[in-house]
Point group: C2
Chain length 432, copies 2
């Protein structure tokens, strides 16, 4: 294999190389928009009939509207068939994710200001949510928990999950995780047709108000297209980790963390920043050694070769500014004083502090959410949370006295904005 | 003029008519995507050169890169030329919006759980924000305050405003409002070219991390297109109000409120729900009377005729479920006990309680934000707030003991998900 790109802040061309690293496009977005539009139109027009026909064609099934929904017995059977240690791990994850997300519930605010105007914000749950779960190898039970739990904690009353059953197969662990998380309905459909059904509804699947969960290019394009009719979460790109590590680490530990990210996807990205060039060498050698033992070697190797990077800085203090520009989905601070370094960094989806917090803990059982902003979007967005499943109504309440106090200023602003009827709506109440 | 559609819940075909009202498409989205893509490509490729050329062509100007930015002297002159009552109204609005939004700053959270794992959420401001302000008649100083103040309160360090100067003219009140709100930079550019400059940067305009503010179809398409490279706010549709009013109101007051919304745009929508058919008649007559006096009569008349609706219910309690389905941007509760009615309603961007709180107060000086979810999106989204200008980093910190406690569950989940390297990254630290 080839070693990944090595950058050193001390070299004159560092800025050019770093800019190129930031600008590298890791994902080729297939142009599936025309196909997706057609699929959505069909489901919108013909409901279950189109949904069933498309599902049977794409997934090699022979469903009817009656068999779209996964029965309670099938879900129970999957749960009961799950090995005890797996179930215990899922339940531990569920409990920890729930506890953490319960702290994210926003508080209502209601107050009266100095002149007697009542103001406030009231939060309410989104009524219903659709949860997309990919089929095949990317059908992860942990992602079911990560998407469903914040919705449940927010108070969403109905969670409808869709998951394609390619050739009839559903991952029983996904069903078990859905049962643990309290998902209300599960349908064996996927792709753009499933997104269309959730957005517009069919006779079998009632429409939802918001759709979350990862998917392939068709699913992503369908989500973009139905956005507005329903809410959507972020469109996730390939996963990434930035590890900032000093020479005090075991190179094998850091190599393992870089590879955990790389094994996700050939387009995943693992970046190491260190102030110790010899340590960087040792990590690269450890990566090469460990790679040979991985079941997903080809994927991890391609990711590390094509998108991996090792950046050597003169001083770890220099790494903060680079981290902010990278704005990584996952940021590991495997350094002597991680809190001090973290205080100087602003852009990261999630941070993992110290040598004993591998990012993988956050993927499963830490309690925080593993749905995080990718592709530098941590500069302006956040990981999935309870806030994604609630919305705020702002409150205003005036009496006659408050209207007399504020009305003239509103009338003046309406006047200069040329909005007569705005002014009149206040003036008429003040006999002006 | 034609009266608007009248619905009565007591009639057998109510549900069909109500569904049709909800489904009515008020906006024809022009297909400007190809043009916008080309404009963005030009600015991305040629920076200031393209930005200046496009601006000069579209806005009839003769700018150079040196004159793109509005000078401090020009801003000061606009501020000084603003009439005292206008300035006082803007400053009152500014103070009230600031006070209200200061209550929206989210709190960091950091805690240690029962087994010693440290978790948390840390909020930081988005570094830089672009604020789009339309030119011409829709160039509202109030919107400058509503977009800029939450960003300032959030701690955004740099706000770059763009506003097209068609034929060289800038609304001096927009400059004055920008000065009051503390906008850092103003550029006389608009359209898709301005959005491209903010997203990708040029020699004159440094790129921002997020773009907010309303605009025409070109601006909206450009925002959708640069989304991902930068964050964007919601794409605003035509404005709307739902007024729920009992027979105890002055019909003229309610008519004025319906018209204040209708004058915005021929695609705006004003809906009245009442339990009093005679009152409904009186409001409709008042609308007709008041219409004749409005400077924006044609717009208001078209909106009321094409999209206005009056719904008569048997009992006001029935209005809550209808309000939730309408999910209005603005909801006025002009009833005897507005708090009781509000308690039963879930979906609304902003609520205005009681007979003395016309929605217009919220447009200008109430203190809450007037950028609110339109087109039924209050089912899943919220008005603009400080939360739109901050982002959250989730925090996880384990020591060796916590890793021993949680590690085996993470390894088990990695195993069942087929992610070897994930498992290894934990196991290697536990000598497993």
């Amino acid at each position: 294999m080839q070693v990944p790109v090595r950058l050193n802040v001390a070299t004159g061309d560092f800025e050019d190389h770093f800019e190129a690293l930031l600008a590298a496009k890791r994902e080729v977005s297939a142009d599936v928009d025309a196909v997706v539009r057609d699929i959505i139109d069909q489901v919108r027009r013909s409901g279950d009939e189109a949904l069933v026909a498309l599902t049977n064609r794409f997934d090699g099934l022979a469903l009817t509207p009656e068999t779209l929904r996964v029965g309670t017995d099938e879900i129970e059977a999957a749960y009961r068939a799950t090995a005890r240690p797996t179930l215990e791990a899922l339940e531990l994850a569920y409990r920890r994710i729930t506890s953490h997300h319960e702290r994210q519930r926003p508080s209502d605010d209601r107050y009266t200001d100095a002149i007697g105007v009542e103001l406030g914000s009231r939060w309410t749950a989104v009524e219903s949510v659709g949860l997309y779960v990919p089929g095949g190898a990317a059908s992860y039970p942990s992602s079911v928990l990560m998407n469903a739990v914040p919705a449940k904690v927010a108070g969403v009353e109905r969670i409808a999950m869709v998951v394609p059953a390619q050739k009839g197969e559903l991952n029983p662990l996904v069903l078990a995780a859905a049962r643990i998380a309290g998902v209300d309905e599960i349908y064996r459909v996927g792709g753009a047709q499933a997104i269309a059904a959730l957005a517009y509804g069919t006779a079998t699947i009632r429409p939802v108000a918001k759709i979350v969960g990862p998917g392939n290019a068709y699913v992503a394009a369908a989500k973009r297209r139905v956005f507005g009719t329903v809410g959507i979460d972020m469109i996730a790109g390939p996963s990434e980790v930035l590890v900032i590590a000093d020479g005090g680490n075991d190179p094998d530990w850091i190599a393992a963390d870089l590879l955990a990210q790389a094994e996700h996807d050939a387009a995943a990205q693992s970046i190491l920043i260190t102030d110790d060039a010899a340590f960087a060498d040792a990590v690269e050698q450890a990566v090469e050694r460990q790679l040979t033992r991985l079941s997903r070697r080809a994927t991890a190797e391609a990711s590390w070769r094509d998108f991996g990077a090792v950046i050597v800085v003169g001083d770890l203090a220099q790494s903060a500014a680079l981290a902010d520009r990278i704005a990584a989905e996952h940021l590991e601070l495997a350094v002597e004083d991680p809190e001090a370094l973290f205080a100087g960094i602003r852009n990261a989806g999630a941070v993992f502090l110290g040598r004993h917090t591998p990012e993988v803990i956050g993927d499963y059982v830490g309690g925080s959410n593993h749905v995080l902003p990718t592709a530098r979007s941590a500069r302006f967005s956040s990981g999935l949370s309870v806030l994604d499943f609630v919305k705020r109504t702002s409150i205003l309440k005036l009496g006659p006295e408050q209207l007399r106090a504020l009305g003239p200023a509103a009338i003046e602003l309406a006047r200069v904005e040329g909005l007569d009827a705005h002014g009149r709506s206040v003036a008429i109440r003040l006999n002006l």
